[in-house]
């Protein structure tokens, strides 16, 4: 592993570290909003992986300038524009669900929700949410 190898792959390794911080936040934290933020970080770092794949050293942005130039690869940019939309959509839906869970359970901590469910499981079965409203 020569120096240029390490330098060549350092970008990817840093992106992988970001991915793992995001994944760890999602998996380990109990707060529902924190999970959504963790999911955001995880997805953004995947976007960075795609984009740093397409970069050519000495290349410029893939917008034709008439002069013959080396351009970076436009395809990962197109894929990521779609993936960012998917990320925003998932975040919006996740936050909407968090708001509804707060209405129904009055808490957004996973263990408190679990406790409420277990206690209800053995209590009366039905009591649908609008019974509370």
């Amino acid at each position: 592993m020569g120096v240029d190898d390490i330098l060549g792959l350092f970008n990817y390794w840093m992106v992988i570290v970001l991915m793992m911080i995001g994944l760890y936040t999602v998996v380990s934290r109990g707060n529902l909003v924190k999970k959504i933020v963790g999911l955001n970080i995880f997805q953004t770092s995947v976007f960075l992986l795609y984009i740093s794949m397409g970069k050519v050293t000495g290349g410029t942005a893939p917008i034709l300038t008439g002069k013959p130039e080396v351009y970076s690869n436009p395809l990962p940019h197109v894929l990521i524009l779609t993936a960012i939309v998917v990320g925003v959509a998932t975040t919006a839906l996740g936050l909407a669900l968090v708001v509804r869970i707060k209405n129904a359970y009055d808490t957004i901590e996973e263990d408190e929700i679990q406790a409420a469910d277990d206690e209800k499981e053995f209590g009366d079965a039905a009591a649908a949410e609008d019974g509370r409203r």
Binding site: L23, V26, L32, K35, L39, F42, Q43, V46, L49, Y50, M53, L75, P76, L79, T82, A83, V86, A89, T90, L93, G94, L97, V98, R100, I101, A104, Y105, I113, D117, A125, A126, A128, E129, D130
Partner: protein
Amino acid sequence: MIAAHLPILQVVVPLIAAPLSVFCRRGSTAWALTFGVSIAALAISMALLGQVLDRGTLSYELGDWAAPWGIEYRVDAANALVLLIISGISTVVLPYARVSIAHEIEPHNQTLFYTCYLLCLTGLLGMVITGDAFNAFVFLEISSLSTYVLVAMGAKRDRRALTAAYTYLVMGTIGATFFVIGVGLLYMMTGTLNMADLAERIPAIGANRTLVVAFAFIVTGLGLKLALFPMHLWLPNAYAFAPSAVTVFLAATATKAAVYLLLRFLFTIFGTTFPTFEPTLTYLLLPLAVIAMFAASTVAIFQVDIKRMLAYSSIAQLGYMVLGMSFATVTGLTSTILHLFNHALMKGALFMALGAVVMRFGDATIDTMRGLGRVMPWTMAAFVAGGLSLIGMPLTVGFISKWYLVAAALESGLWPIAVLVVASSLLAVIYIWRVVEAAYFDDPPEGVTAGEAPPALLIPTWTLIGANIYFGIDASLTTRVAGEAARVLLGTAS
């Protein structure tokens, strides 16, 4: 002229119908539009199956751009059959849904509910028919996002639907992101996203650590999506607390599309010659499938809520599919693809019967089922027929898939696996018998008068049961298509 554009019409007709349904004032007009579109989708998928059977693989280039540059749709025997399952089940579920949804969803939400249903249908169809890896991810997300919302619509009946939807969202998004990482690594090593192009270029690169990691991430991502054994935690709650019609549609189609995608990536793109293909199938998928069959069935026996029981039984049935796949032989694949079709019929009928019970009593726990044989005779009869098919009694579709699975196991010389398959069917007998015993041998709680489910629920249930039995007896069509699909996937096509 239309015949040439069938592949794209299959996806675009429901896609355009979704925004149109937002303009409908009342739920019933939205339902009418959805039902019409679903029938059109069924007709298109039948026509496609016909074209595929006599002309082989179809290819459709979007925007007339050549394959690796533009997006290309490839339809062969495998995805033509899965398209037929999805649109067929959707057409049967919709008349059932009209009554069941009117009962379980607030009136002002119904119009948008059908919009979400159409989007889920579009996502599933688009995911199965596409020949482009990234396009499959986009439509996978469309179907997943609409599924999270459909599951959350069950909150009117039970607030746990919200937490079920949230867990499903988090695990589904992690699965989809793993899938995207895998596709990204594939793209990085080959430079193309078109599945056929990938299939050519991957063997050329040979043993490469990045491709091996891409293989692992794609299998893990799709495994999460189809609730393979260790990653199945989201499925029981999602199916138990979703509205009944949604559970019927999801149980019969959603995981099938993920199984198809896994089949497509494993066999068409990576191919059997891929270095880690053999070890992963025999040392990872095979044991996981066997554990899934036994663990899920045993857990199903102790469930109070019958819907959760059937959800766990779905996980066991998925174990059968993955088991068939892991033999990597033509008969093994045929049994998996057959089971895709048969399981849709079985589970659809069972969940429909339960939906009728839920509509009448508010929930479907074991003590609600007490004495139901007399209170709702037709519904319980349907449940029993579905249960028999699940166990794999002769003259039902369940028997056909079990037969091919056992044949495949014996053909690969793994006779202990064949014994395990039969043993796990016995577990299925136990949890079905538990319900039958409560329904027919206990007397109903007093004050419960005989009140059969409305015909709108019974007719679709019994059509599925009829299909269960018809395809159990005359299985020539399904086995022919499944065999053709297996040969295409294994690349030994005629």
